[in-house]
């Protein structure tokens, strides 16, 4: 679909932020989502002690919460370290437009 075919909508609404608060912004939803996440994480971690691989290929796999720790740490590392890449490679939006 050609980009020029796109039909931007709501140009009026865009000028002023809608005053209605969406369900996802409601503190009850946010709190509920977070609690659900905490409980799910706790259950998944607990399940690691119950169901373990019978024949693990690596010793790490035998550690009941290895995947939980690895997932948490790696995700945090990606975000906390990765954002510094912007300092190295980040340029203005028109960088190429001005040079080509």
């Amino acid at each position: 679909m050609a980009d020029h075919d796109a039909k931007p909508e709501n140009t009026e609404a865009e000028s002023k932020k809608a005053d209605s608060q969406g369900w996802a912004d409601h503190p009850v939803f946010v709190r509920g989502f977070l609690w659900m996440l905490y409980i799910s994480c706790a259950l998944a971690a607990g399940a690691g002690f119950i169901w373990q691989k019978k024949k693990p290929h690596f010793e790490l796999e035998a550690f009941p919460v290895f995947f939980a720790i690895y997932g948490f740490v790696m995700f945090a590392l990606i975000v906390l370290l990765g954002q510094h890449l912007r300092k190295l490679v980040g340029r203005s939006e028109d960088y190429y437009r001005e040079r080509e």
């Binding site: 679909m1 980009d3 969406g22 998944a44 971690a45 990606i78 912007r86 490679v89 340029r91 939006e93």
Partner: protein, 580 residues
Amino acid sequence: MSVNSLLAFLDNPGIILTLGAFLTVLAPVALRRPIMLGVVAFSAFRLWGMEIGDSLAFDLFGLEIMPIKYDVLSRLFLVVFHIAAGLNVIYSWMVKDRSECFAALAYPAAAMGGVLAGDWITLFIWWELAALTSVFLVWAPQTRESYLSGLRYMSIQIASGVILLGGIVLVFREQDSLAIGTLSLRDDGGNFNIAALMLFIALGIKSAFPMLHNWVQDAYPKASIGGTIILSVFTTKLAVYMFARVFVGTPELIWIGAIMTIFPIFFALIENDLRKVLTYSINNQVGFMIVGIGFGTAASVNGAVGYAFGNIIFESLLFMSVGAAMYRTGTSKATELGGLYRTMPITLFFCLIGALSISAFPGFAGFVTKGLILDGAAEAHNLIIWLILLFASAGVLEHAGIKIPYFTFFAHDSGKRPKEAPVPMLIAMGIAAFLSVAIGLYPQPLFALLPHQAHIVDYNPFTAYHFVEQLQLLLFAVLAFALLIKFKLYPPEVPSTNLDVDWFYRIPGRAALFAVIGFVVAVWRVVWGGLQKLVSSIVERTYRTHGPEGALARSWPVGFMALWTAVVLGTALIVLFLSQ
């Protein structure tokens, strides 16, 4: 060629869709999309009638050319390519642009023709047609940016084709056959086989190996909305298919694939254009497939090609949902989107299914096949690769599983209140979402398409342990995201251009090219100027001698001539006298 042979030659999805593409161009505007859908359906119907082992070969100048070689591997890719082509026709139902409609059939046709190719020459022809037809999708927006990007894209694709052709010539010289078969990258002495290496590089360009990857980010996000989705499917997956066919079990692929899974994660994190984020996701996802092919075990190859099948559907779904947001708002930039969940809830729902699938949450498509690739690393007792793939799984969740839905539909409120996506877009996304869930819950039909059936019958992705490890990995990664947002440690999106490998050929490369052109022009001017001066001087001298005023044009008396005749004759007489 007999009538039966001609019919057999035409009974090829590549040919059917190509003819359909021309028919579409000639059709009235209102009939274009229905005809396109009909052509894809007809091609799928013909595919349904094909039997494993079907082939078509003929002799050309003493060489065996095999346009059709249908086996279990080609079947899997042809099935999913038909699904993708059909979904794209529906998704872009409103687009009637002639060149875009043509490319939307001709480009998948080229990819399918390549999948069916049984010899290298047939593959080369489809390979180049894929490059030539797909560039129309990049050019579709008709902006200067897309035009320049399309030129760069075509240059790289054609370079891949030229290297492929070089490799084909060398392979033919070695094997005296053009049949596509497995090749070893190294000879018995451990040295690189140049012929195989050239083919490896040609495929590597198409599958976007590290450092050869940036044509994807350069071209795909500049294409039209529907064009980006089509582009995301075919070229890289055709290359994956060829790797599975030719270089299965090549150990170099393991590390190349592992690097492919890692580096896009960081670029995707800082990228503002969400369509570009998804192009980095293509690199990452193809990396998983390349690793699986590199291990070369029955399980890992099943995992790689099965993952390709699922990925084509759920990656398309993500592109479609971002495309729908772009269609309604005119932008795909994270800084200009956000808060769309209020008015585009159905698109959000489909996007979340795509996000859960690509993240390999239990019950979704990615879960049932990614485990096979990870098992391949575990069975090979390759701890580092196994850890890298787990790391990359967390990275997929970050950029495709969370960033895409979060910054499109939630995050800050952009104030935009667009309408829900058009019905054709919703239908296409709905089908893709349904397939993503269906494969995740009931993978047996996909498993039946996998090449190593003996292995897959023993594989059960729904073990308690598999659930637990995957849920731990993903839920705790989501927890990390939630905490980073809560403590304002997640980097805000910034409107920017992030330099990647393409910088080398777009800035210094371009400057070097202009310098070379300037030098050649200067040398030409000097040489041509000197030559012009030399010719002018010869003409001038000749004119001075032979022109109307020249010495040789003067009139001489008859006596002068008689005198000279006497001198010449006298000289001849003396010479004759002396010689005797």
